[in-house]
Symmetry: C2
Subunit: 269 residues, 2 copies
């Protein structure tokens, strides 16, 4: 039994898809979320900068005495987590392990597609993780740098989105994969359009959903015995404007966030 | 006569379009450029965060004893410059003044379109500047948040770019403007597609070009008497990877940058 909070961070808002699943699967738990909205996006930055930002994000969450940390950011999970895991005593769970694990479990023809930010794809983290489980699995990677801006500007299922999906996913579809890892927390918001393009035979893996299931395994018995009072359950911290987080956050979380968001000067951590 | 350097900053690479013009019009001058590639983009952030970042960018350039500062970033010029101008002793020139001045000069029908990042358009800075000169001019604004990602991913003149241009510029074209301010340094890279869409009768204003002309006026006699040695002329600083700046920077500058780029920890300024 452990009544401390679960710490979750993402480069911005996308990690709230993971938070939503954690709330659903672990309703007793308290959550502290940090969204690095002042320095988002991570996916286009160098590995060195992603490491630096990931360090400060983890240090901030540790200052709140969390029992476990979930990296809900595909970029930080793939580009930084393998390098920093051993530097901290707290257990750290990333979306790569979670989504990679699920993809290996569901593929039948051993052909898995992986899409993500440029930094995620360049890291090769998914491929490495999957092939450690099963070296016979063939992976097909593609960076999709326009997907995040499309989502953030409401292009969920437009003609523009269709054209960009065709540009990015044509080769992966032709490679006859039966499983596609949507390796960035924004991508599930394009799920309808991606699913239509890939066809019914392709299973889409959402990191936000998988990380919650993975977290249960990692926590073992270290759960809360009963929920904290309503006002202490969920706390959100951001490095840019509170207002825009409250507004956009509700799209990802599908519920209102009000009065629970604080601003933090992340450059101090 | 003043042999000190000209300081130029931008949120990233786009400001190099201004640097290119300054090199051309003021070939004797030395330039120190800072590109905040570790915190780019500014255009989607809150005014408070843009102010904070602009402060640190200026402080960094001042640590190099520059004689004048050019804010080549449309967002920082419009959202921050009016508020911080009086805080510093050094003269500061922004792209808003430069491009606004030119737009007022060239419009015949007194109808000017303004496009920029969300923060630039929300600031209302162009409209304010233009109407101080001539209150009869009507302005038509539109934020174009997908233009920067399109440019950065090589979509200069594709079907996707055409559709997004139609989405953003339809109303401005219908408003019968004869002048369009491309209020973000990335946008001139879409010039062909924008010009075709708007038609021959519409004059496009590029901030990078205008700010160099405006700078000459502001510098007055404070020019260098002769050029510095080749290796001391141009210095570039970035807050993320040097390699990717050298690579992408050459697209904006249309010349190779090698060995003149250094990394700076901008969070310390």
């Amino acid at each position: 039994m452990d009544n401390r909070s679960i710490g979750v961070f993402d480069s911005g808002l996308g990690g709230l898809t993971a938070v939503k699943q954690i709330m659903k699967l672990l309703p007793n738990e308290s959550i502290i979320y940090f969204g690095d909205t002042g320095r988002v996006p991570y996916g286009t930055r160098s590995k060195e900068t992603i490491l630096k930002y990931t360090h400060s994000d983890i240090n901030f969450l540790l200052s709140h005495d969390v029992k476990i940390i979930v990296i809900a950011c595909g970029t930080a999970s793939s580009a930084a987590l393998p390098h920093i895991k051993r530097e901290f005593d707290v257990p750290i769970v990333g979306v790569v392990d979670a989504a990679g694990y699920e993809a290996v479990r569901v593929t039948k023809n051993k052909r898995i597609g992986i899409i993500g930010t440029t930094a995620t794809i360049n890291s090769g983290a998914y491929q490495k993780y999957i092939n450690e489980y099963d070296s016979e699995i063939k992976t097909f990677e593609q960076a999709c740098p326009l997907f995040v801006p499309l989502v953030e500007n409401g292009h969920f299922d437009t003609k523009v989105t269709e054209l960009v999906i065709d540009e990015y996913l044509r080769d992966i579809r032709a490679a006859d994969v039966d499983t596609l890892i949507m390796g960035c927390t924004h991508y599930p918001l394009l799920k309808n359009a991606i699913s239509r393009y890939m066809g019914d035979g392709v299973q889409l893996i959402s990191p936000g959903e998988e990380v919650a299931k993975y977290l249960i395994k990692k926590l073992g018995g270290n759960l809360r015995h009963s929920p904290a009072a309503e006002q202490d359950r969920y706390h959100y911290y951001v490095s840019d404007s509170i207002e825009s987080f409250e507004e956009l956050g509700s799209i990802f979380l599908e519920t209102k966030i009000n009065g629970q968001v604080s601003k933090v000067d992340i450059e101090k951590y």
